[in-house]
Symmetry: C2
Subunit: 229 residues, 2 copies
C-alpha cells in the first residue's frame, strides 16, 4: 500500500550507508556500487538504504550490505551520522554511516555481485551524494580507532604473517615502521598466537604465521589493559 504513512510533523528519511574496507597485497581498498539511475547515475556509491521500522541501524547496515554485495558476517560499526539539509537532492535524508571491515581473501560475493567493484584507496572514482566526505570521515575514524582497538585483524586472513600485519598498519596509518620494532611491539602486546601449520620452518624467508588471540585480548581488556599503536 502506497502513501499511507501520515505524521503530524514532517520527518526526514533515515538511511544507513556502509564504507567497506578491504586489504590485500595491493593495499587498502573500498568496495563501491555503481549507480544505475539518477541522481548521480554512473557515479559510484556506498551500499546502503532505508532503515526499516523493525530494525536498528546496525541491522540495517548489515542487511543492505548483504543484499547489495553478498557480504555476510563482517565487522560493522557506526562511526558518524550525516544530516546536512541538502545532502540528498531527492529529499531530506539522514544517514547513519557505518564502516565494514572484510577479510577480502576469505570472502565470497562482493566482487561477483553485479556492479560492485573494489577500488584502491588512492584511485577512488567520482562518488555520489556526499560520499566523498563520508569516505574521508570513515578513513579518519578507522585510523583513530586502530590505534587502540585490534580491528585491523578483521581485514586480514585468520592466519597471517608479521609483514602482512605491518603492511596493513602502514597502509591505514600511512606511516612506515621499522620492521624489528614493529614486530617487538606487536608481540609484546601478547595478543598474537603463533600458528604451527605443520610445515617445518627452515630458513627465515618463509615467515612465521600468527593468528589474533581474541580470548587473550578480552581477558586483558577486562583487566584494564589498553592496546596502543
Amino acid at each position: 500500500m502506497k502513501g499511507t504513512y501520515t505524521y503530524v510533523y514532517p520527518r526526514p528519511s533515515v538511511t544507513t550507508d556502509c564504507v567497506i574496507f578491504g586489504f590485500d597485497a595491493q593495499g587498502l581498498s573500498i568496495l563501491l556500487i555503481e549507480r544505475g539511475i539518477e541522481p548521480f547515475k554512473g557515479c559510484w556509491a556506498f551500499p546502503g538504504g532505508f532503515m526499516q521500522m523493525d530494525e536498528d541501524a546496525e541491522t540495517c547496515a548489515c542487511r543492505e550490505l548483504e543484499e547489495e554485495t553478498g557480504l555476510k558476517d563482517v565487522h560493522v560499526e557506526q562511526f558518524c551520522t550525516f544530516s546536512e539539509v541538502n545532502r540528498d537532492p531527492r529529499g531530506r535524508t539522514v544517514t547513519i554511516a557505518h564502516f565494514a571491515l572484510v577479510k577480502k581473501s576469505e570472502v565470497k560475493g562482493a566482487d561477483d555481485a553485479a556492479q560492485a567493484k573494489w577500488f584502491p584507496i588512492d584511485s577512488i572514482p567520482p562518488l555520489a551524494f556526499d560520499h566523498d566526505r563520508i569516505l574521508r570521515v570513515a578513513l579518519h575514524a578507522l585510523r583513530e580507532k586502530i590505534h587502540f582497538q585490534p580491528i585491523g585483524f578483521e581485514l586480514l586472513p585468520k592466519v597471517f604473517t608479521m609483514p602482512q600485519l605491518q603492511d596493513l598498519y602502514e597502509s591505514i596509518l600511512e606511516v612506515q615502521f621499522d620492521r624489528r620494532n614493529f614486530a617487538n611491539k606487536m608481540l609484546m602486546q601478547g595478543i598474537l598466537t603463533e600458528v604451527n601449520d605443520g610445515t617445518v620452518r627452515k630458513g627465515t624467508r618463509n615467515p612465521i604465521k600468527y593468528s589474533f588471540n581474541s580470548e587473550k585480548y578480552s581477558q586483558m581488556k577486562a583487566k584494564g589493559f589498553r592496546l596502543e599503536f
Copy 2:
C-alpha cells in the same frame, strides 16, 4: 496544520539529545531536565527534541540546548546515534546524541531555567528512556576524546590554574596524576599561555594562571602534531 505529512514508507522520528558536562571545584557534573509528563514523568532527561527539516543535527542540538537551558555558544559535538527499535515507548525514534561542554563558571542560564539542575556525575538520579545508556556512552566518548583533543579547556574558565586543569583531567579520567609530572607534561605540549593578570606573584601558594592557546594548537596540529594524554 495537523497530519499533513504523508510518505510512501513509514519513517522514524529523528531527535537529538544533548549530554551536558560541566566542571567546577566539586568535580564533573551533568545538567538534566525533569520530565513533567508521561512517559517517565518525574524522571530526569537530557535536553533534546525533534529535528526540524531546515536544520542539521548539530544545529538542532544547539537550538534545543538553548531553548531548554538557556545555554549558548558552547562546544557541541555528535558522538553516537541510538536507533534501538523500542528505545521510546511513544514510537520509533532515532536520536543523534551529542555532548556539550560548558564553562560552568562563566555561564548564565542553565540552572536558572525552570526544571534544569546540575547533578554530580556520581549522583545521577533515575533517567528517562535509554538515557542511562546514552550517558555511559557519552562518558566513554569524552574520556577517549580528551586523550587526544584539547577539549577539556571547554569546561574551564578562560583563565585557569594548573591544579584546576589537573583536577579536570583526574575527574574525567578517574585517575591520579603526580602534580609535578602533570604540569611538566602539560607545559611541554606548548599549548598553554601564561596569563599575566597584573598581580605580582609572591610566594607559590597563589598559582600561576594559564589560558589555552588555540592558535598555537592549530598551527601544531596542522604540522602533524598529535596531543597526548
